[in-house]
Amino acid sequence: MKNTIIECKDVSFTYDHTDVLEHISLEVKEGEFWALIGPNGSGKSTLIKLILGLIKPSSGSIKLFGEEMSSFRQRERIGYVSQKSNAFNSGFPATVLEVVRSGLTRKTGLFKRFTKRDDQQAMEALKIVKMDPYHSRPIGELSGGQQQRVFIARALVGKPDLLIMDEPTVGIDQQNIASFYSMLQTLNREHGIAILLVTHEIDIVTDLASHVACLNRTIHFHGVQSDYKKMDDIDISNWYGHPVRRVHQSDREAER
């Protein structure tokens, strides 16, 4: 039996009287790769923040690794890339390596200092996103896409069991997106890391993900990828709110 990593039970959330999320129930199990999709303002980032414990649900409950959110302590098991991760103060004096290493803060433990080993791990994480040649550069002097890759490295450095990413590929060029997704696939298939990925790149991701959740205030569909693909475009357009035409792998190849 696979363990449940994220368990949302009947979760609702209200921002100053507007219901943003209603009755969300979702289970992510070990080794699964979930794509969370939905139009702008559908509540994806809000759901992610609830799962991370950054905000509290108005009702319902969320468990992480089988533990109630309020008593969950194993935060080093989660890697996170936020939607606005490069909204930091761009004059901040820190090197790429220092930023990535900060992802090990919790793992290294209170009162302890970073060691050479921590630096090596940070370098390995940078290699995964191909940013290792930039390790001593100030973070503010990188391009937006490069910064984003550094933040992905920060999420990976602690070797998490669960990766949560909110539109991590924003600002990353086509070629690097492709290699980023194949990296996610490797992390998922070979290292067994569970992934929850928010994205607007519906076509690419549904080919990679094992599961898909469609969100627009409520969950309109959740299940394995093959079932999602069986839905027709009309159903999808209905919950998406505007017409959507999915391009399948075969179509894309035909186009080339």
């Binding site: 996170y80 103060n89 090197t95 919790r106």
Partner: protein, 288 residues
């Protein structure tokens, strides 16, 4: 000068406190500046003013308080102010910076009331406002040394957490860093450093010693560690040059220290390009 330092205890006190403050004020200042909270130091120093003025007034009025070192009440007020700022920042979630002018005005207000109640304090108060070479006692030096130990211990043991919180508060929270606790300790320590520094640089100029060396340092540094070292070096340089010239010119050291750091900052801005070129070519040589 050197001879005078050996001969006069007051000069030893002033220089030793100055050297210590030159380290701890910019060290904490770095964490304040990178979070764009430079005005917090200003607000807290004005709250310290309220405490100092209150203490001076009480020592005029109440006989058994006349020997009380005003630094204690000044520090206590600053610590209280720092906790209040944290509270207010929580209350005005979208206007966090609003907490700062509220506290700052309250500090000046209370200070002004005590000063006018006492019909002025003359030289005593001027010493607290702009610093003094001659007024630092052994007791003051002891307090400064003790606070320095707290500050350096705190930054040493919580370096990772402080960095994570300063760089990205949301990520730090997600990864389980004890943000609230560390932030509260941090604010208390900032208040203590302000209390410790005001004897030398004065209440009105404490915040400059916390921010100006950092402003120059982040122009030069590529890493956080580097920014820290540059901040301390520039802070120390300003304090030493400032104290020596204050001694010779017989004026308040606060002014000379801060003006020195302003000049260093201007020089850094002027020569930044050349400097960076030097470091770059050297750095590239190292990599190859």
């Amino acid at each position: 000068m050197i001879e005078a330092i050996f001969n006069y205890e007051f000069l030893q006190n002033a220089f030793l406190s100055g050297i210590i403050i030159g380290i701890i004020a910019p060290l904490l200042g770095l964490f304040i500046v990178v979070r764009r909270l430079a005005l917090i130091a200003d607000a807290l120093s004005h709250v310290a003013l309220a405490g100092i003025a209150g203490s001076l007034y009480l020592s005029q009025q109440v006989l058994f308080l006349s020997a009380l070192n005003p630094i204690y009440l000044g520090m206590a007020a600053a610590v209280g102010g720092s906790l209040l700022i944290e509270r207010l920042r929580g209350a005005y979630r979208h206007f966090e910076e609003l907490a700062i002018p509220i506290i700052l005005s309250a500090g000046i207000g209370v200070g002004a009331i005590f000063i006018s109640l006492a019909k002025g304090f003359g030289t005593d108060l001027v010493g607290y406002l702009f610093g003094s070479v001659s007024a630092v006692s052994r007791q003051d030096l002891g307090i400064v040394a003790f606070i320095a130990l707290c500050v350096i211990g705190f930054v040493y043991f919580f370096y990772k957490e402080l960095f994570a919180l300063s760089f990205d508060r949301e990520y730090a929270k997600v990864s389980g860093v004890q943000g609230k606790l560390i932030q509260t300790i941090f604010m208390i320590i900032v208040a203590l450093v302000i209390g410790a520094s005001m004897r030398i640089v004065g209440i009105l100029l404490v915040s400059s010693l916390m921010t100006l060396p950092v402003a120059a340092a982040i122009q030069l540094a590529k890493s956080f560690k580097g920014a820290m070292l540059y901040s301390i070096a520039i802070g120390e340089l300003s304090v030493l040059i400032g104290l020596v010239s204050a001694y010779y010119l017989d004026i308040a050291p606060g002014g000379t220290i801060v003006i020195t750091s302003v000049i260093i900052l201007l020089l850094v801005l002027l020569f930044k390009k050349t400097w960076q070129k030097m470091v770059r070519t050297k750095g590239e040589a190292d990599v190859v």
